[in-house]
Assembly symmetry: C2
Homo-oligomer: 266 residues x 2
């Protein structure tokens, strides 16, 4: 698949590592040129944001982006939390919830009595032996142990260094009790499709721009969306040899947008 | 393989869940008949203890067994810690160490400057997001990430309920950075062989008695040792359908020893 096969009519953007870099002590740092790139996409194309962020609610993430200088529409941000809630309700599940303290209130309306599954998000400091073991004991008691995980990322990049994402902790529980895992978020196809549908486009008219070779690039490609890898955020030089091959490799978001919008008008 | 194919000349015993059950607040509780069974083995046969216990040193475990009423020879207890130290020294590795606080001093003589691998034990409460992430960052920096894990158990049974063992936390780090894993302890063949060699016996003359269908029974069978499953400790009724089939299923250690020593003298 070559990036130029089909005109690009819509853009899906990852957020962390593409728009800004996280920092444990501050609001984070904008990646150079990304505010301008987002403005250009809103002016000249169609854009949605697809993020596995599960350490804050959409409202908080929107406020954070606004403070950082981005002008976006809150409705254009697609995150795993609402999808997971829908899945849990549709399947009459009663989750034991291990998520970041900032997003616990998002799940307050779910039935959590006599839990029959575990809902796992990026709890960061909320992952302790005690909290992991409590989740494990819930799974152990069920005949068909089920983990619903908000994304399954390996790690994300913070300004102070790389940080383990929820994926590892999901694997820990999965191994301990041979659980089934349902991933809500990237790299699952449906998650990309929801955002593409919202733009009223077809998957082959869209590109996904992200810093994660597996969740962003590989996930998009599986869904029939072209995947653009940026060299910001968690980018690693060794990914040049990765089995997943991006349709385009760009220095950063601005560079990717410039190349792709130029293509569009040509 | 049938338990009666070959006379039983030596016994390997798992400790937790076979000799006693652990308790977070007390010394634990002896499993009925196990003191007498161990005494009988010392009197009428040959016995060694093979345990993945990594929350205490051999000296401490020996003292604990003595307090619980067992008469054993400290030299007969085989644990992963000394094996792991030997492996690390033989391979000139410099581990970042994440183990239980009670066993940290066992590793004090290892070179841990500029770590190039991670040594993982059952750290229990020592597993936090911060300690896991510190180990992750060490692995991320190496070109060939390597985890040495003291056993790879899924869980163990405490009197207050089942508890996650080191295996899950190993899988978490392995997933996050695509690390290689070397397991020191059960179910690795060499670990069983060391104890069998120490008895001066052949593997087909020996039985392993344990409560873990994978580490004890499956591990032993792979090493050519007959595997006896006891219905104590972490035993689960659903294991009746497990792909691993024990050579003998016994109510507890005493019952297993009575059956097998009777066989021996017949």
């Amino acid at each position: 698949m070559n990036i130029s096969n089909n005109p690009v009519k819509g853009f899906l953007l990852d957020i962390t590592g593409v728009l800004y870099n996280s920092d444990p002590n501050t609001i984070g740092r904008v990646i150079q040129g990304s505010v301008e790139a987002v403005n250009r996409l809103y002016a000249e194309s169609t854009v949605r944001f697809v993020t596995n962020e599960s350490t804050r609610s959409r409202k908080h993430l929107f406020e954070k982006l606004t403070k950082l200088g981005f002008t976006v529409n809150e409705e254009h941000i697609f995150m795993p939390v609402p999808e997971a809630k829908r899945y849990i309700k549709d399947h009459n599940l009663r989750p034991h919830i291990l998520v970041h303290k900032r997003v616990r209130e998002e799940f307050e309306d779910l039935d959590t009595n006599h839990p029959n599954c575990v809902l796992l998000g990026d709890a960061e400091g909320g992952f302790t032996y005690e909290t992991m073991n409590a989740a494990f004991r819930v799974l152990q008691k069920t005949s068909d142990p089920l983990i619903i995980t908000l994304g399954c990322g390996k790690f994300y990049q913070r300004l102070d260094g790389p940080c383990m994402d929820v994926g590892g902790f999901t694997r820990a529980l999965q191994y301990a009790c041979d659980a089934r895992v349902i991933t809500i978020g990237k790299p699952e196809e449906q998650f990309f499709r929801n955002a593409v549908d919202d733009m009223g486009l077809m998957t082959n008219q869209v590109v996904m721009i992200g810093d994660d070779i597996v969740s962003d690039v590989g996930g998009a490609q599986k869904a029939g969306i072209r995947g653009v890898q940026v060299r910001t955020g968690k980018w690693r030089q060794c990914w040049i040899n990765h089995t997943i091959k991006p349709d385009l490799l760009a220095d950063d978001l601005q560079s990717a947008v410039d190349m792709l919008l130029k293509k569009k008008t040509n």
